[in-house]
Symmetry: C2
Subunit: 424 residues, 2 copies
């Protein structure tokens, strides 16, 4: 009995460690981050252990250790966010606390507890409330927490004012040491930039969207449903990642705002625009989801109709894929592309299905017609993605590869052509 | 100049406060939570201020204040999660820390700093790594943080072992007092249950999906595009909330797991199933998104074709809406419904479009045919939602309103009918 329990536990533990190991191997940066945390903590511990400058664990060494544990985050942006919030909030709450402490200690035995209690109650309530406001939540949530904490600590302390000043000064300097150490280590030792991660995530999602579109359409037309083959099916599912990456995009963009310029990204790089690109991509991925429903539909169109439409659909999808790939290239290289307008024009020109097709039961052509219609819709949404990427290129001053004014006018001509065609 | 700056600042501040006030009025529970935090902190502060049992702010009062600030969360689940994690992690890390402290203090002057440094390095690195593992992250993230913190604090302390025991005991008891106070207040004073919030969110989203479907289809067929009217358009956008609520559903479900039974929810209520319902709803909302694209398409089908299809589409959409509303009722009342199978049958029967419609340019009928096709796809996805709700009903033992065995068989008959029809 015990033996079987032990074996079961062992197999579970092995599995767990294998998965953990895989996580580490897939992203060695995570491993490095762990070592950074360990290193930083050892340095602080040993520093305070070998040089007991202050009064042991009850005093200030504690604040340095605490700061390192809490402030050193995976990304540089996270560390800066926490460090800035922690330092500023401690300073603000400390000053306010000392002010109210002075006031309270001068207002007699009866007034003192009332002033203390009321100030803690009011300030803690108001600060907690501010955490519900989205703008505060996204940028200063941690700061508000530390503000409440520090303020309560100061007002609960029964110290005389001169001792309080000493204490505040020591504590602030320890927090400053801890914070700056964290910031140095996170920027200098194998830095992980939230901005770079966001940049890569958006590029990867753009590629996945392109592959997915290509995979879906070719699975449907090019040899029917190849459910058995693993490869194209897996690629075709890439849009799901796009649909699910809203939360990570938002948190990365939030942190990226705190980062100084790095690599090819300037200080006020428009990270918010990546969120708009992400939204436009999800918009497009939603259509792909619906398209996927058609592919797996029980109703299959007769072969001859499929053949009839397959050419147009395949072309439209390959043009759309080209546009997506080019967009991904634009973001990757951070250079405007001279090709994109031509590709966009090709896609738009393709986006008009053949005319009259008669005498077929509607039921039969339903999925294939829907497919065509959704592809047109997808092309329209890819145009939206293009617009957001254009905005990014303008905001972030992407280099131009060559003069594009001539091509712009070509595109406008083409767009007008398109409109005329649609009206015909 | 100063005056205009002042006016600008004032208008900004007024706007901010108005928004904050609106937030509070919309959700009075948030106001109450703020008052709870203020109250809890005042009690702890005054308790420790009026009875300076220990040695002031450097000692243990601090831990009670800190515990209250950090542990008292908006939902009961959040408070229990943090409280449990904090208490357990402190206990575990404290024991381990004392053990290593003993070992280090017995290994001589040269061995001591090495053992201390190495243990902090190894344990902090390993614990940080575990935070990257999704299962640990979702349930014990805060606990691991506190574990690292406590362990480092114990090993940085230069105390003798007997003093360390005293300190550990005092600190644990203060944390226990703070935690239990938070838990009591959060459960007894106007509790906000994450589970109830999740339950309501899913019901609200189901209703929004129904309204949205109804709104989209009726906007399209029933009097063309009524872009100018605000009301139906706004309702029709409800699916966007469904698409965007993944993150909140997940965090609520995570917290709900920590909550004891409350209201109509038992202790091991299957909260995870709500996530599956949510995923199925998002699946459906994606199709609605695509459908919305058709509605706003530039290409409009000729009136007579619209009329031709409008009847079937309107019926299908109204049946689908009925199913969604019934599902929302099932979850709301927590009773199985005897109607749902009939409604589902109606929906499925409607889900077959009219046969042959000839001699119309494909381009013209594209949007309306896509609309019909997407409605059929939506109906199929609503079936999936029904399955997930059925599973929830089974897992959570929803009461049955009456014997359903006879209806089940009717449904199965109908399903077989459907299949035959499709094969024809």
């Amino acid at each position: 009995m015990f033996l079987s329990l032990f074996v079961a536990l062992k197999s579970k533990a092995t599995k767990f460690f294998k998965r953990a190991w895989k996580t580490g191997m897939d992203e060695p940066k995570k491993f490095i981050h762990c070592l950074k945390v360990g290193m930083c903590l050892s340095i602080v511990s040993l520093f305070y252990y070998t040089r007991p400058l202050y009064d042991g664990v009850g005093g200030n060494a504690m604040w340095a250790v605490m700061t390192v544990v809490v402030v050193l985050e995976y990304t540089v942006g996270g560390t800066l966010y926490k460090g800035f919030n922690r330092a500023t909030a401690t300073l603000l709450a400390g000053s306010l606390g000392v002010g109210i402490h002075l006031l309270a200690s001068k207002s007699g035995d009866r007034g003192e507890p009332i002033i203390r209690g009321a100030s803690v109650f009011l300030i803690a309530s108001a600060a907690t409330f501010s955490r519900f406001i989205p703008e505060v939540k996204s940028r200063f949530d941690y700061g508000v927490l530390i503000f409440i904490l520090t303020f309560s600590l100061v007002s609960v302390s029964g110290y005389r004012v001169d001792k309080l000043f000493d204490l505040a000064q020591q504590r602030l300097s320890t927090i400053a040491i801890g914070t700056s150490m964290c910031i140095f280590i996170s920027i200098l030792v194998f830095p992980v930039w939230a901005g770079t991660d966001l940049h890569r995530l958006v590029i990867r999602n753009m590629d996945k969207l392109a592959e997915s579109l290509d995979g879906c359409v070719s699975t449907y037309f090019d040899g029917g449903i190849r459910k058995s083959e693993e490869e194209p099916g897996k690629k075709a599912q890439g849009y799901k990642c796009v649909l699910n990456s809203k939360a990570s995009e938002e948190s990365l963009a939030n942190l990226a705002r705190w980062e100084p310029g790095h690599g090819c990204f300037g200080f006020s790089y428009p990270w918010g625009q990546y969120l708009k690109i992400g939204t436009a991509m999800r918009h497009c991925a939603c259509c792909l989801e619906a398209l996927n429903g058609c592919i797996n539909s029980d109703i299959q169109a007769p072969e001859f109709i499929k053949k009839h439409l397959s050419d147009g659909c395949m072309k439209l999808s390959s043009h759309s894929t080209d546009v997506l790939k080019e967009l991904s290239n634009i973001i990757k290289s951070m250079e405007k592309s001279s090709n994109i307008d031509t590709l966009l024009g090709d896609m738009k020109n393709q986006g008009k299905p053949d005319a009259a097709m008669t005498n077929v039961p509607l039921m039969d052509i339903l999925p294939v017609v829907t497919m065509a219609s959704l592809l047109i819709e997808i092309a329209a949404r890819i145009e939206n993605i293009t617009d957001t990427v254009d905005d990014l290129a303008a905001m972030a001053d992407f280099k131009a590869t060559k003069d594009q004014s001539s091509e712009k006018s070509t595109l406008q001509d083409e767009m007008e052509n398109m409109k005329e065609l649609q009206e015909v």
